[in-house]
Amino acid sequence: MATPLDSHDPWSLRESYLFDRAIIAEIQRAAREGIYDIRGFGAKRHLPHFDDLLFLGASISRYPLEGYRERCATDVTLGTRFARKPLELKIPVTIAGMSFGALSAPAKEALGRGASEVGTSTTTGDGGMTPEEREHSTLLVYQLLPSRYGMNPDDLRQADAIEVVVGQGAKPGGGGMLLGHKISDRVAAMRDLPKGIDQRSASRHPDWTGPDDLEIKIGELREITDWQKPIFVKVGATRTYYDVGLAVKAGADVIVVDGMQGGTAATQDVFIEHVGIPTLPAVRLAVDALLELDMHRKVQLIVSGGIRTGADVAKALALGADAVSIGTAALIAMGDNSPEHDEEYRKIGSSAGFYDDWQAGRDPAGISTQDYELAARFDPELGGRRIANYLRVLTLEAQTLARACGKSHVHNLEPEDLVALTVEAAAMARVPLAGTSWIPGSNGAR
């Protein structure tokens, strides 16, 4: 695409840092349309992240494990605190909650197929459980959200775990949102809503408020399911240290902390970019709370929000997580933002690599849509295979890094294996700036 810079002397033009082209476009869009920008995807701004950490491989002071020969285990058990039937995962990567409604039925099926093939779990979303996803998911986590769309005790009993959703990283403090063009007949029936409305679901649960009520609510869920199912509590990362402590106190088996890079199907851009804290400090704060309560590894910690590679997986585990969850990356693995759809992305005003209009329901990849024809383009078997492949790669990469650090289980990775590339990351992850013993903000005690 030709830009003004091509036809002018590039030395004579200076773009404002404060009012760059994206800001100018947004101001003019807001003035034109009179409504805030709603979109999918996660935070797009630069944030301190796992890329700002590096592993210290073994050498003389530590010895590594042989790649391909010496075993590096990856299994995780979730829900060992109270549940009679904890979730046994073969890999430390799970699929995060994404609703039928936000995603097409074949896309939900593909997530189940892929996760099941590699021995991990997938999760329902703000729209209830579909038969397709139950059938194709060996391990399925059933979310209890403020909206309670489709909430059904039969589904509760046929789930493998229950996740009480307090918030998500993309919008801590915000409720669900599904715009009218994605409320098809089936979605409307599942949610007990009129077809085609702009659905804005509640941000608070209808029958509990605060940690004391949450404890009683968890007690009810345990009674209904006869204490069999692990109960997760999911929070968007904000006051993570306190939230994790309160969730432990309320009786959670597993805590899910979703950093601000976590994806969404539809949220105001201002919310996505300006609320919550990044995943990097959130892991550390969550682990702090668990350690202080002597609950680390007893109440398991799942971290999500911007997990893309096996390096991200390994670094989250090294900081103390028991497992991670992927959402946005899973959609991309299934074909979202693929160059093969570029021509069609351009027809709807986007481009491969930039597409974030998951709220609009016009996804040419057939993933974030309820349009029958678009959804029919998506092959759930192929999608499932891609998810399984991708999950295997994440696991292999994490094992590679763990072996390099001499670990026979990915959970043996520890903060001591890490250094930071930036002062910010050093302070947030509380590991030393590379080449120094400096951990900003920690008063040098360690």
Binding site: G34, I35, S147, R148, M151, N152, P153, D154, L156, R157, G180, R191, D192, L193, P194, I197, D198, R200, S201, A202, P206, D207, W208, D213, I216, K217, G219, E220, E223, I224, T225, D226, W227
Partner: protein
């Protein structure tokens, strides 16, 4: 009385002063898979316990003799649960079918998110009665507190007394009937004409609730103006 009725009339008594709640709920849940077993239960000394008789999934009659805490009869299917006392927060939350009856008062969020069945409160219900209701029918002999039927999606709420502030805020397709005063209507909730078909369904609901003495013509009907169903910036002041 026939022999069958005599057997069916046998009442299983569980005293929560000596039997753990877990054991009571487990025994009640075990009946979901069985064709035989006690159909009538009496629960003594609930003493405000939470989650009493929640998650039932069989045609049972459960009489609870005393006050219960949070989430009594939560997510109930098929069973008829009666509380001879008051009930705490989240009574009959997410009710699927069957009936739940409380002789006394109910605390906040009674019948929250219920998807079917009938909830009857003979006293008053506190704030957020019928919040996010999705098909449940709720009949309250007394009054309800503020924000009742907030985001109510489907089902019917009948209030024989008064309703607190912001009734039916952000309501979808639920139908609300109030006999007394309404302190205030929430966003997008308006009064609607009470036509013959509404009086008929109201009469039926009152009869089901055992309140046949109440005249349906004394009620006013409220529902959604449907102005907030699609987001319009001109409505921003309502959000």
């Amino acid at each position: 009385m026939t022999a069958t009725e005599a057997v069916g009339a046998a009442v299983e008594v569980v005293d929560l002063a000596v039997t753990p709640l877990r054991e009571l709920n487990q025994r009640l849940h075990d009946l979901a898979d069985q064709t035989a077993g006690p159909e009538r239960w009496r629960v003594l000394n609930p003493n405000g316990a939470h989650a009493v008789a929640c998650g039932l999934d069989a045609k049972l009659e459960v009489e609870i003799e005393g006050h219960v805490g949070y989430y009594c009869a939560g997510m109930n299917k098929l069973a008829a649960v009666r509380v001879h006392g008051n009930a705490g927060t989240g009574l009959a939350e997410n009710l699927m079918s069957g009936t739940v009856t409380v002789d006394g008062n109910a605390s906040q969020s009674a019948g929250a998110t219920g998807r079917g069945g009938l909830l009857v409160v003979h006293g008053d219900a506190a704030a957020r009665c019928g919040i996010s209701m999705k098909g449940i029918d709720i009949v309250v002999r007394g009054s309800v507190g503020h924000m009742s039927a907030f985001m109510a999606q489907r089902g019917r709420l009948v209030v024989c007394g008064d309703a607190g502030d912001a009734l039916g805020d952000s309501i979808y397709e639920a139908r609300l009937y109030v006999r007394g005063d309404v302190a205030g209507l929430g966003a997008d909730c308006v009064e609607k004409e009470l036509r013959d078909e509404h009086a008929a369904e109201l009469r039926e609901l009152l009869l089901q609730a055992g309140l046949g003495d109440v005249d349906p013509r004394e009620f006013r009907r409220y529902g959604s103006a449907r102005q907030l169903y699609t987001f319009k910036v001109d409505n921003a002041a309502a959000y």
